[in-house]
């Protein structure tokens, strides 16, 4: 029997079956090895955690697979150290000596942070490409098209607009970047789609913006939950519609403990936060539709050889 056009209408097509116990052992060993190796082991540590998270996440009963290896991250990082971070550090140090006067220093700092912001945009996008190309489900790989610099230009521009408008550009920025990412995300030979729009977010945003100070920033969670619901609801893949059943309360219960876990373990406990996020997604991410699985064919696009150097160099985190 082959499920060539199986309908996905289960209430929870995703499930996460990873227990905290095995992850705990993994995190302790990873932390020790990372300390002993002055941090070099972190690439292999991250890979082992991802393999754990991926293989315990299931869609329609089948596990995801993470096929990356630590040395790809290590080499990716080294390349970035020598062609980006070291030159950047040298330029910055020289500027401290060579640039006299406040105006010169301010102009240099602005240019410097613009370059950093651009590299962060590239780093985020390329790290996502690496992770997608190392993700497999039912033997079929995911991928991401689109150039990192195209994403980074938007990222820098939108971030500046966000600052100039005192945050009022935030919904537009998040919608546009989500659109760019999704339209370039592939599973096999089919890509994800984002239905344009999202303007309705502005009503919620306006209320939350004015409540930002009285609520000490908590109103932002309310907006963020609304944004995630909207963005997910407008996302589809091969006649399958997604839905994220997130509320401000659920989001708070996810992100606040996650932040505390990460801060109080100086980052070593971040895998527990990722574990909580995986469980969160398995519970609240739904999908409905009739994808034709026999028409979804293997992805044959090029894949990067190494990964995530920039993202690691700028401490961008992520899974």
């Amino acid at each position: 029997m082959s499920d060539q056009a199986a309908a996905i209408d289960e209430r929870a097509p995703f499930s996460f079956v990873g227990d905290m116990g095995p992850l705990f052992g993994l995190v302790v060993v990873n932390a020790l090895l990372t300390i002993v190796t002055l941090g070099i082991y972190r690439f292999w540590a991250r890979t082992r955690v991802r393999r754990f998270l991926w293989r315990n996440m299931r869609l329609l009963g089948e596990p995801f697979e993470y096929s990356g290896v630590g040395s790809e991250l290590f080499v990716g990082f080294l390349i970035v150290v020598f062609i980006v971070l070291l030159p950047l550090g040298i330029v910055n140090a020289l500027a401290q000596f060579l640039i006299q006067g406040d105006v010169g220093a301010i102009l240099f700092n602005m240019a410097y942070y613009l370059v950093i912001l651009f590299l962060i945009g590239v780093g985020l996008y390329r790290a996502r490409r690496y992770r997608l190309t190392r993700t497999t489900w039912r033997g079929i790989r995911a991928n991401q098209t689109g150039a990192g610099k195209q994403y980074a230009i938007r990222y820098v521009g939108y971030t500046i607009l966000q600052g100039i408008t005192l945050g009022w550009f935030t919904p537009a920025k998040n919608v546009r970047l989500w659109d760019f990412r999704l339209a370039n995300t592939w599973f096999g030979n089919a890509r994800f789609k984002y239905a344009r729009g999202g303007e309705g977010l502005y009503r919620t945003f306006a209320i939350c913006w004015f409540l930002l100070i009285p609520t000490l920033g908590i109103s932002f969670l309310w907006y963020k939950a609304r944004e995630l619901r909207t963005l997910t609801a407008k996302t589809s893949y091969e006649k399958t519609q997604f839905e994220l059943d997130v509320t401000a309360g659920r989001l708070a219960w996810l992100v606040i403990p996650n932040a505390l876990i990460t801060i109080f373990t100086v980052g070593l406990g971040a895998p527990f936060a990722q574990w909580r996020t995986a469980r969160f997604l398995a519970i609240y991410l739904r999908a409905r539709g009739t994808p034709d699985f026999s028409a979804i064919e293997q992805d044959l696009r090029a894949r990067p050889q190494f990964g995530e150097g920039l993202a690691d160099g700028f401490n961008l985190g992520g899974v």
């Binding site: 029997m1 082959s2 499920d3 060539q4 199986a6 079956v17 990873g18 227990d19 002055l38 941090g39 070099i40 393999r51 293989r55 315990n56 089948e62 596990p63 697979e65 096929s67 990356g68 290896v69 630590g70 040395s71 790809e72 290590f74 080499v75 080294l78 390349i79 150290v81 020598f82 971070l85 070291l86 550090g89 040298i90 140090a93 000596f97 489900w137 039912r138 033997g139 079929i140 599973f187 096999g188 699985f293 026999s294 028409a295 979804i296 064919e297 293997q298 050889q305 160099g313």
Partner: protein, 354 residues
Amino acid sequence: MDTSATYFDGQAAAAHTVTVETTQSGLAFVLPSGTEISWPYNDLRLIDKPDIYGRFVLTSLSQREARLSISDDTWLAFLDTRAPDLRSNDVRARARGLWVIATATLVVSAAVAVVLLVPGLSIVIGRAIPPSWVEQIGEDVVAQFAAGERWCTGTGGTNAVAQMVRPLEEAGSPDFHLIVRVLDSDAINAFAAPGGRIVIFRGLIDAAESADEVAGVLAHEIAHVIHRHPTEATIRVLGSWIFFRAVLGDSAGSAGTLLIAFAHSRENEVQADRTALTLLRETGIGSQGMAAFFERLTDVEVESGADRIPSFLTTHPPTGERLRAIEAARVQPTTVRPALTAAEWKDLKAICDV
């Protein structure tokens, strides 16, 4: 022995339910389309360990992108006896050996460059930087150290310092004009910053029993200025900090930087001690004050257990070691004169009194 499994052909995402049989040479199953597939035991690879429900996934070297998902983990025990390379990870992206070796070489050579080249480069760069910049850096360093503390500016004491500095400066003729200041702090300490800036802590003057003892320490700091040690150390630390932070990240990078800073400062201390002895001889002050001061510091170190800190972890060689070196090199001037008159010494002791 049969089991039901789900097969994915690696070309499309469709699932095929199949019944897998074990044969003499491997696993065999028939697709709904009628295609017969057999995977030899030798080619079988386990993608991941069984999850908590006993579900595990297999692939075959002959069909690397295909997957066979089996929910009966008693099968895994059976396959372990038949498939010798089941748990080999040779289906994963190979750690490209050449790349790893190449980059490891790159890192090692860069580290060698930092350890061996940066000290040399710091001398060259140190001489290339205009003196006015070095003086500015020195002022910044001193200001950082003195943050929250008071400078001692008693008139008599300031004159006494000048009296003590003048002959030593003339004898050593450093590249920078010396600016010696006293900081109102209890620490028994003194240091030289880039650009001829020297700071003596009041605690050191309190601990000294004669002007000659202070002169010994001052001669040592002036010797650092003569050899341009503070400038070079600043450039060296900055250079290695840039490198280590980029490669190792923040915390480990700082540790690496400290190791480099410590490694070279010990050589510098020994060199400064030697030059200080020469200065003390040429100015007629002699080394007995310096020796007496270090002798007392050694007693303090022994009492506090500081002498048990491994010597490579401190910026200064153990004072006992230095004391022996000073005494071995003791060359007395023909006519000994005190560094300060009794009245000047009294003024210096009172430099911080308001």
